[in-house]
């Protein structure tokens, strides 16, 4: 008999597809992926209030602040000093007071702003997702527009200025002072629950040294932007005393991080499929040990490493192909049912979710093969792979462990690979529940996937050595 690798692959594929129980289990896993997408999709649209404002790209945003403004038809500049920024229990780290130029006063409109923050120094932020750090101790701020170029500058003394950043904002706009502060919130999770303890806060900023060019002489108007959507919002105000103006405000100008269900919820069935596939991977090897079939396999192909390689390649390829189809269908179906309710996710991210989940299933199945080869006994090997892949996910994502330990679990165990399903970006400039229970993983998507690959690689190496040294 020839010892060609293609023949070996063919032999392993035949073994895999001619055991009815395995074929059924694989088909059930694929069906579950799609079935859970239907289930989550159907439930997701029900529990939502009004839609949040969206920016020009369709990103849901929070856009609620006190705005002391004048029209800015063309070129112009505003300069001001932020004398103080306070709140009853100290300002929030991301409390904001400064200057903003905005394409109108409706929530979601494009803007550019330069601001003093509670604990992060001077920042320039524009169009919700962009954040640039400026000098930490500056208190003088200037926002200038020439043509459609907006330049944000800061200064410690009002004499020497440094540019923080530039952006573009065309057309008629409103320019002026703003104050906003996110609520005081602390997030944790433990024992099946998540907690966000907090209360809304009103921050107060004192501005002086206000000068403006390029604006009509009609004077400043005060507007609470974005409060119409939220009846519980704290509403700020502005009070003038000479050339000093005291402005209070709540809310934020930032991307909305926890807005509706994440698209990854449509792939929750992948978790079930993972459990099925690691068990199938184990059985693919241990059944041969159990029946003594392995001796036949090794007689047919005496180079043992190649038997292990062939098994891994076959189960990985089959799982990847099946997983790709099932997750793609699940994502499309789930997305279709959820419609507008779901937080929008870019095309490349959706591709990463589908390909990543299929790859996760494939590598996990190979992990099962490796552990099965190491332990040789099905019961122990199945328990080991399930405890290593499924249990960490439950402990961390189902919020059994507190956040810090959950994040460690998702850094070091194979369950880290579920990061490929993460949809919502973490914004450093937004204080939110960046915890596993809300779908935030401590590692980047492919970084988490690499953790699973490392486990699988190490297990395969051990398996190859043991397979060569031991009698079958």
């Amino acid at each position: 008999m020839t010892d060609g690798f293609p023949a070996l692959l063919r032999a392993e594929l035949t073994k895999l597809r001619t055991v009815p129980g395995w074929v059924v289990a694989g088909a059930v896993a694929a069906a579950l992926i799609v079935g859970f997408a239907l289930l989550t999709g159907a439930g997701a649209g029900q529990s939502r209030g009004g839609p949040p404002p969206r920016d020009a790209d369709g990103t849901p945003v929070v856009d609620r602040f006190t705005f002391v403004h004048q029209p800015l038809p063309a070129d112009g500049a505003v300069t001001v000093r932020v004398a103080s920024l306070t709140a009853p229990d100290g300002p929030e780290p991301w409390a904001k007071a400064g200057l903003v130029v905005k394409a109108g006063t409706s929530p979601g409109a494009a803007y550019a702003a330069v601001m003093v923050t509670g604990a992060h120094g001077v920042r320039m932020q524009h169009d919700f997702v962009n954040d640039v750090a400026g000098p930490a101790s500056a208190r003088w701020l200037r926002l200038a527009r020439a043509g459609d170029a907006v330049t944000a500058s800061a200064s410690t003394d009002g004499a020497t200025w440094s540019t923080v950043g530039t952006t573009r904002l065309a057309g008629p706009a409103e320019i002026g002072l703003f104050v906003a502060t996110p609520p005081h919130e602390k997030f944790d999770q433990f024992l099946g629950g998540t907690s966000a303890t907090g209360r809304p806060v009103l921050a107060t900023a004192v501005f002086d040294g206000l000068t403006a060019t390029g604006v009509p002489t009609g004077g400043w108007k005060t507007l609470a932007v974005g409060v119409a959507d939220d009846p519980h919002a704290l509403v700020g105000d502005a009070a003038w005393a000479g050339d000093t103006v005291t402005v209070s405000g709540a809310g934020d100008i930032a991307p909305a991080v926890e807005d509706g269900p994440g698209l990854e919820q449509t792939l929750v069935g992948g978790f079930v499929a993972l459990t099925v596939m690691v068990i199938l991977g184990v059985l693919f090897v241990t059944t041969e040990y159990r029946r003594g079939m392995l001796r036949t396999s090794l007689v047919a192909s005496p180079r043992r490493g190649r038997v292990l390689a062939a098994k891994s390649v076959v189960i990985a390829a089959v799982t990847f192909a099946g997983g790709l189809v099932a997750t793609a269908v699940a994502l499309l179906v789930g997305k279709g049912i959820m419609g507008d309710a779901v937080h929008p996710v870019s095309g490349p991210t959706q591709v990463r979710m589908v390909v990543g989940t299929a790859a996760l299933l494939a590598v996990a199945a190979v992990f099962g093969v490796a552990v099965g080869t190491i332990l040789r006994r099905g019961a122990g090997a199945v328990a080991a792979v399930v405890v290593l892949t499924t249990l960490p996910y439950i402990l961390s994502v189902a919020a059994v462990l507190p956040v810090v330990s959950a994040q460690w679990v998702l850094r070091v165990t194979p369950a880290a690979a579920f990061a490929v399903q993460q949809t919502v970006r973490e914004y450093p400039q937004v204080n939110a529940a960046y915890t596993p229970a809300f779908g935030f993983f401590p590692l980047p998507p492919w970084g988490g996937f690499a953790v699973l690959c490392a486990w699988t690689g190490a297990a395969l190496a051990v398996a190859a050595v043991l397979l060569r040294r031991r009698d079958a």
């Binding site: 859970f36 068990i279 399930v386 439950i394």
Partner: protein, 251 residues
């Protein structure tokens, strides 16, 4: 029944794996509980359940216990020993009862060690994490400790029943762990809170682990003892189904 019990006890005692698994179950229960206790901090009035935190290790210990119970049947099918056993003890229900009794005894020992150790470890660690004034023992903690040992015994009996049903150790472990770990996660996607509560009352882990809570017991989907009762029904159903098939199938 007595010879059958004696035979089963000899089999369990003279193979190294069960003793190691008893030890592993106890160590896993204590170790994960201690890690969880180390990881948590409590500001005054945090309202966290110290006993429940100490018993986090049940999540891991139950997997080891399931393997122990499955192997009691699965290994006999793997080696063909089951035919010899059934020749010696032709009354198949008696055989299953004897196996259940012996496995229950072993898990009782593992559970007592693990749960007792976990509670002690929690009582040693948690005061340093901000849990003030933990009583050494109180009624609720005692109930949680005794109940958690019984929880592990019932998981073992459920696993024994499933192993008798499917006759293959690996498949049985996969089925049991799927039942224990997957059901709770899958219930999270059910958006209707009433249905979610109803189903959580019926899953073996969610209902069974109600016994390990000592704080906010009223807010659980099901009470501690009724919850353990649900798990007992699962175990009984698995054993009865296993016994029926054991009767009607060739070994």
């Amino acid at each position: 029944m007595r010879p059958a019990l004696h035979a089963e006890w000899t089999k369990l005692r003279t193979v190294p794996a069960p003793a190691w698994l008893v030890l592993a179950a106890a160590v896993a229960t204590v170790a994960l509980g201690a890690l969880a206790s180390r990881a948590v901090t409590c500001e005054p009035g945090c309202g966290l359940d110290a006993t429940k935190i100490s018993l986090t290790g049940l999540q891991l210990g139950q997997a080891v216990v399931a393997v122990l119970a499955v192997l009691a049947v699965g290994d006999e099918y793997r080696t063909g020993m089951i035919r010899t056993t059934l020749t010696a003890v032709p009354a198949r229900s008696t055989l299953l009862a004897a196996k259940a009794a012996v496995v229950a005894g072993a898990v009782l020992a593992a559970g007592a060690l693990g749960v007792g150790g976990a509670i002690v470890a929690g009582r040693l660690i948690l005061p340093g994490q901000g849990f003030a004034d933990l009583p050494a023992t109180d009624g609720a903690t005692l109930r949680a400790a005794v109940g958690s040992v019984l929880y592990l015994v019932l998981i073992a009996l459920l696993s024994l029943g499933v192993a008798t049903l499917v006759r293959d150790a690996a498949t049985a472990v996969g089925t049991v762990l799927g039942l224990l770990y997957l059901l709770p996660v899958l219930l999270m996607v059910i958006s209707d809170p009433d249905w979610q509560r109803r189903l959580r009352q019926l899953t073996p882990t969610e209902a069974g682990q109600a016994i390990s809570h000592t704080v906010g017991v009223d807010t659980l989907p099901i009470g501690p003892w009724p919850g353990l009762g649900i798990l007992a029904l699962w175990a009984l159903a698995a054993l009865l189904a296993g016994a029926t098939l054991l009767h009607h199938r060739d070994a």
